[in-house]
């Protein structure tokens, strides 16, 4: 597929920028909190990949759905997630999105059309197809976007879901965030293809590649895929070439070297937020002050949210066995 000609309006550029800044600051603070031992468990940070979430999500409505991954904070934020409820969930507090039961890897809000982050690599891909099926079944024009990684593209779940979506021509867009690594294994060491978009032909759907460090490029490519899906034109596979700036888990991880410092630096030099800000200012969309003001407001909001999370209570032990069933059954069949 040729590169998209769809270009964001100034307002859309500003919108994307704001989403990206929100993600960046959220993640930087979360990273500090986990390194400082204040957040339990494992965090997979999205820093560096913000253009993908923003460039896709700006096309979606609250009624559209997404599915996400273990690296899900960015998607949730770009889809409208509430910082307070997110941090509270990362802290495992009763006030969190999942009442403290989910944590980072399961942070989710069905009311925002977020069908989960997911701790199982590629686990959410078939779920996205199910949501897309429901949208079509009910004759809506909703679209489901499914985020997954380069590593995930090697899972059987991806294959089965892609084939089914193409067969039924469902309104779903498969967005592969190719950050060149599955955990600590580089792409050439986990698959022989360079472009995951090449897999699309095997399912009979369009395969598209976008520069995942460029919000406008993602905007264009995603916009076309989403519009096609909305119009009944079936699924697409959109591969966004991107990079995570921090380790697979946490900020610095275990310090076992598996990627070149030079490679990391090169990609950091392509910071999607810095690039977008350069453009915003150059094209007179925002002044440098206005850009700074975005950051300030986000930082302030985050400080509030963290304070909220820290002050929130732990879940009550009685909630441990709640939420397993919608219709719990007492022994003997009595409800």
């Amino acid at each position: 597929m040729p590169p998209s000609e769809l270009a964001p309006t100034p307002a859309q550029l500003v919108d994307m920028h704001r989403r990206m800044a929100r993600i960046r600051h959220f993640e930087e603070e979360a990273g500090k909190l986990v390194e400082g031992g204040k957040i339990p468990g494992a965090l997979h940070l999205y820093v560096g990949e913000e253009a993908v979430a923003a460039g896709v999500m700006v096309h979606l409505d609250v009624d559209d759905q997404i599915t996400s991954t273990h690296r899900g904070h960015g998607h949730v934020i770009a889809k409208g997630g509430d910082f307070k409820l997110m941090y509270a969930e990362l802290f495992g507090k009763a006030t969190g999105y999942c009442r403290g039961k989910g944590g980072s890897m399961h942070i989710s809000d069905l009311d925002l059309g977020i069908l989960g982050a997911n701790g199982i690599v590629a686990g959410s891909v078939p779920i996205a197809v199910g949501a897309a099926f429901a949208n079509r079944y009910r004759d809506t024009d909703r679209v489901t976007v499914c985020f997954f990684g380069d590593g995930a593209s090697n899972e059987g779940a991806f294959h089965e879901a892609a084939n089914m979506a193409a067969l039924y021509q469902l309104p779903v867009v498969f967005v592969c965030e190719n950050n060149l690594y599955g955990e600590f294994t580089s792409q050439p060491r986990h698959q022989r293809v360079t472009d995951i978009a090449d897999r699309a032909v095997g399912y009979g759907m369009p395969g598209v590649i976008a520069d995942g460090m460029d919000a406008s490029a993602v905007f264009g490519a995603a916009g076309e895929c989403i519009a096609r899906a909305r119009a009944g034109g079936g699924p697409s596979l959109l591969e966004c070439k991107t990079y995570r700036f921090y380790d697979h888990v946490g900020v610095t991880g275990m310090r076992i070297p598996y990627r070149d410092e030079a490679e990391v630096d090169e990609w950091k030099g392509r910071d999607p937020i810095a690039a977008l800000e350069l453009r915003l200012v150059e094209e007179d969309v925002l002044t440098a002050d206005a850009v700074a003001a975005v950051h300030q407001s986000v930082v302030a909001e985050i400080a509030d949210a963290i304070a909220f999370a820290e002050a929130s209570p732990d879940p009550d032990i009685s909630s441990l066995t709640e939420d397993v069933y919608s219709n719990p059954i007492e022994p003997g069949g009595v409800r």
Partner: protein
Amino acid sequence: MTATDLPVTAGRKLPFVQAVPEAIAQCMRDDADVFLAGEDVAVYGSVFGTTRGLLDEFGPSRVLDTPISEIAIIGLATGAAAVGLRPVVDLMFMDFIGCAMDQLMNQLAKMKYMFGGKARLPVTVMTAAGAGTNLAAQHSQSLEAMVCHIPGLKVVMPSNAYDAKGLLTASIRDDDPVIFIVNKFLLGATSDVPVEPYEVPLGLAAVVRPGTDVTVVAHGRMVGEALAAAEALASDGISLEVVDPRTLQPFDLPTVLASVAKTHRALVVQESVRYAGIGAEYAAQIAEEGFDELDAPVARLGAPFSPVPFSPVLEQAYVPDAARIAAEARVLMGT
């Protein structure tokens, strides 16, 4: 509620294989959100015949043949349910559950809990278990123990056509994921099945034959074998009470304990491999809660620790039957 409160039958005989599609059809007529998907469930009406006629009545948008993609089938159900539909999906042979196990155990079963309770997942997964049809190791297993161990799922297994229709209706109407297990050996078995829709409540065991000497807890095909054993022993003055849990998880311990309080002896029978089978759970619960009532250890019958053999003579020796049940009952009686 007890077994005697169940709707009376209307005098119509129907085989198990037709009770299943009748339940699905009635639920589909009632509720436009119910759809059916699976391998060869539409045009062919399932290799077991359990979905025959549904495509004709409901058309291809509500009755779908899928690719051979068990992961995608369960994902389809999970995603569609998460956005409001009430899917019924078919996994054909229960042996294939291994292909879809991640979606079943990590997605469908856990989504509600991980999301802090927000999701409602009214999914029914139909599948056919059981040996005795000379289909060998990969088409004959009874794997209910695996799914019973997964919080978030409910598991039912009817032993006759009446329960099949009523349990399936209850399963489809239930707001939680239910694994509905058919024993393929029973498909031709006929019972009185009312024409009108009815539910057999989930979680309620049935005392299918009253007796005084030994409580036999049996499910699926083993219920018939237990009844035959009861018949055979009756002439020797040994009276078996046969209890069919019907819902395998949650287990209706109160009904079973009431029986044991009368008989003081219990034999748990399962067609599946005995080791770590669901019968171990039943036996353990009976012993824990009924210890003082028991005059003998709870006995268990099940298949030996091997895959299911092809040879008809070996397969017959593999599956527990009336003769072995009767023999065990005699041992319990010390006769």
